[in-house]
């Protein structure tokens, strides 16, 4: 039987033998084989990203993470009534419509002022964060799961399956998102009422479903594109050649490659969903008052933008910073994952 071929190590004279072997092994094992194309790719293609990965995520990314962590922690703690805040539904008559910089002396103990009903803004915003984040995250998760599954099936199986699913997506995408969301909320509300649940159904759930269903074709198309591209790689063919069942191939080979791309999309999606919740609140179908959400805080008092602008701007700034952080983080996540997939 022939000797198994190994990366042969040259042997010098007896005295140099051991040193040379170790030296050669070091050279063979040290680092990666940096091929020329890889050098060129790393220097040219990714050059402008300033690939100083050793320094960590970068200042901007940490700021974004910090902000998001802050928002999440505050919202969760508020919802659990662990923060020393006023109730978001309690009115303080003396505070009504007074902003943080009110001329008649700031409302004591209400640093951000109150809304038109005299409810403390800090409380409204803290509890409101919970509603907004739950709706946005829930909707995106819904969209990821269902859109993701449909997209994966369309991209992996192609042909007929793809045609059917893509047509379904196209139908839903042809309907203006807002109209679709409104119709869904109305429909779901009706369904809830007729089945006896009625007012006991948490409107947040309806919103999650509505925004979620709207996002299914969007997330589905992106997943489909990614699944399609990965399914054409030769390792998928190799798996088929080994006799793996299609489902196994889809889950073990394609999904792990599609998932990272979806993660960055998910962050961007949450940002969009937050804004969507705001829009629906303005249209009157958002989270039902008196439960606050950032969107409905704006919506309720949008007529008062002239005299009490703080009621609008405070939640707007929160939304702005959160969306900015999510977008930025989404980009960073995408850039880092792209880099790791390449052979350098």
């Amino acid at each position: 039987m022939p000797e198994p071929p190994r990366d042969e190590v040259p042997v010098a004279g007896p005295e140099g033998h051991r040193d040379l072997e170790r030296y050669a092994e070091d050279s063979l094992d040290s680092g990666l084989a940096v091929g020329e194309r890889q050098i060129y790719v790393s220097a040219v293609a990714v050059g402008d990203e300033g690939r100083r990965r050793g320094a960590g995520l970068g200042f901007g990314a940490w700021l974004a993470i910090g902000w998001l962590a802050f928002i999440v922690i505050v919202s969760v703690l508020a919802q659990l009534d662990l923060l020393p805040l006023d109730s978001p539904t309690k009115s303080f008559a003396e505070c009504a419509r007074l902003g943080p910089f009110a001329k008649e002396g700031s409302a004591p103990g209400h640093l951000l002022g109150c809304d038109s009903n005299g409810r403390d803004m800090i409380a409204r915003l803290a509890y409101g964060g919970w509603s907004t984040l739950i709706v946005a995250t829930g909707a995106v998760l819904f969209g990821l799961v269902f859109g993701g599954i449909l997209g994966m099936l369309a991209g992996f199986f192609s042909h007929k399956t793809d045609t059917v699913i893509t047509s379904l997506f196209n139908v839903f995408l042809a309907i203006p998102a807002v109209v679709l969301a409104l119709s869904l909320v109305a429909f779901l509300q009706g369904a809830a009422t007729s089945s006896g649940g009625g007012d006991r159904v948490d409107p947040k759930l309806l919103l999650i479903l509505a925004i979620g269903i709207v996002s299914v074709p969007l997330l589905g198309r992106i997943t489909r594109a990614s699944a399609l591209s990965w399914s054409q790689r030769e390792f998928v063919l190799a798996a088929r050649a080994q006799g793996a069942r299609p489902l196994r191939i889809m889950i073990r080979e394609v999904l792990p490659n599609v998932l990272p791309a979806m993660m960055s999309i998910a962050l961007l999606g949450i940002a969009i969903a937050i804004v969507a919740e705001g829009t629906l609140s303005i249209l009157g179908v958002g989270v039902r008052p008196p439960t606050p959400s950032w969107g409905n805080v704006i919506a309720l008092d949008r007529g008062r933008i002239k005299d009490s602008p703080h009621i609008i701007f405070e939640p707007a700034i929160l939304i702005f910073l959160t969306v900015l952080s999510l977008n930025f983080l989404g980009d960073v996540v995408r850039a880092r994952l792209d880099v790791r997939e390449s052979a350098v």
Partner: protein
């Protein structure tokens, strides 16, 4: 060239793989046109033999390899492997045959899942079919990794941490772990550096000896194919033009295309000067509208009217040498360089 026929096939019971009248057509979008990638190709491979399939781009050699694997099944034709007619199987039955017939691909990086560890990639064949228990599978993985020259301790790494040559070794390990009898190698060294190429070619020979493999080696580089094969099939535009033993093919090519191919290969010897017009001009016709009769006639310096009317059939011109040509080259004859047809697109 464009030949059909089965004269070159050997006895059915001796062959490990027998392919008869293979046809693979691909529809082109919605135009109604078809790409005739493989048109009536027959070949066979004996056990422990290495069959080389060589040809330029568009000749259908890779498509032939995949059609043999039924990935996807051919448009028509019969593929018999180890006594089983693969073309008659479907679904679970076909899948059950898969571990016995494996494939290695051209692009070493693309043929490995970047998200999985090498150890898992190689073990996948055993996992799918639940062969043995965990420890025996791990032992087998270590054994094949060693056999291909990869330190099993590196099994924890991911493909992008390895070089192209090493990735190709991992692919080979993945292919042999289910103990197939036949491995189809689809351009396994084309994407590798010259020095690594030699390592992999030697490795394939060693694996063949160690595991008792039969190989079907598909490539465009005739020097490489000649080095590894026991028998060579030359293809052009979906058809077989010549079948012969490698040394015979080199010394006395009978088909004008084979001769042209040999003449065009750059030789690393400055004494061999390539003066004068190239032996072969023009470009490969479109596989959607292949020439009538012999498909090579548009570039053949020996073409006659009969070549357009009648497609030549493979016939034996010397012991063990089969050609599909109406005017094959006699031993020692070189195709005439003047009067070569101009480019036809």
């Amino acid at each position: 060239m464009a030949g059909h026929g089965t004269a070159h096939l050997r006895a059915e019971q001796d062959a490990l793989l027998r392919v008869e009248h293979l046809v693979v057509d691909f529809p082109v979008g919605r135009t109604g046109l078809k790409v005739h990638a493989v048109s009536d190709v027959s070949l066979d491979v004996l056990e422990r033999e290495t069959l080389g399939i060589v040809g330029e781009s568009g000749c259908g050699k890779s498509t032939t390899g995949r059609a043999v694997m039924q990935l996807p099944p051919p448009t028509s034709g019969r593929v018999v492997y180890d006594g089983v007619e693969l073309t008659a199987l479907k679904g679970a039955q076909l899948r059950a045959m898969r571990p016995r017939l494996q494939m290695i691909f051209q692009d070493p990086i693309s043929s490995l899942n970047p998200r999985r560890r090498v150890r898992e990639i190689v073990r996948e064949g055993l996992d799918i079919w639940q062969i043995g228990d965990k420890s025996s599978r791990d032992a087998r993985v270590a054994e094949v990794l060693e056999a291909v020259g990869i330190d099993p301790a590196n099994g924890e790494r991911r493909p992008h941490e390895f070089s192209g040559g090493q990735c190709q070794r991992i692919s080979i390990a993945r292919a042999v772990i289910t103990e197939p009898k036949l491995i189809i190698c689809d351009e396994p060294v084309s994407a590798l550096d010259v020095s690594v190429q030699a390592q992999i070619l030697n490795l394939l020979e060693d694996m063949k000896a160690r595991y008792g493999l039969t190989l079907m080696f598909i490539a465009h580089d005739l020097a490489v194919v000649k080095n590894v094969s026991d028998r060579i099939v030359v293809m052009y535009l979906g058809k077989v033009c010549e079948v012969a033993a490698p040394d015979l093919l080199y010394v006395q090519p009978a088909h004008p295309y084979t001769a042209a191919l040999l003449a065009a290969i750059p030789v690393p010897d400055p004494e061999v000067r390539h003066d004068g017009p190239p032996v072969l001009s023009g470009e490969i016709p479109s596989p959607m509208r292949p020439p009538s009769g012999c498909r090579f006639r548009t570039r053949c310096p020996r073409a006659q009217p009969v070549c357009a009317d009648e497609e030549p059939e493979l016939r034996e011109v010397a012991p063990g040498q089969f050609v599909a040509c109406h005017f094959p080259l006699a031993p020692g004859e070189t195709p005439s360089l003047d009067g070569s047809m101009s480019a036809s697109i």
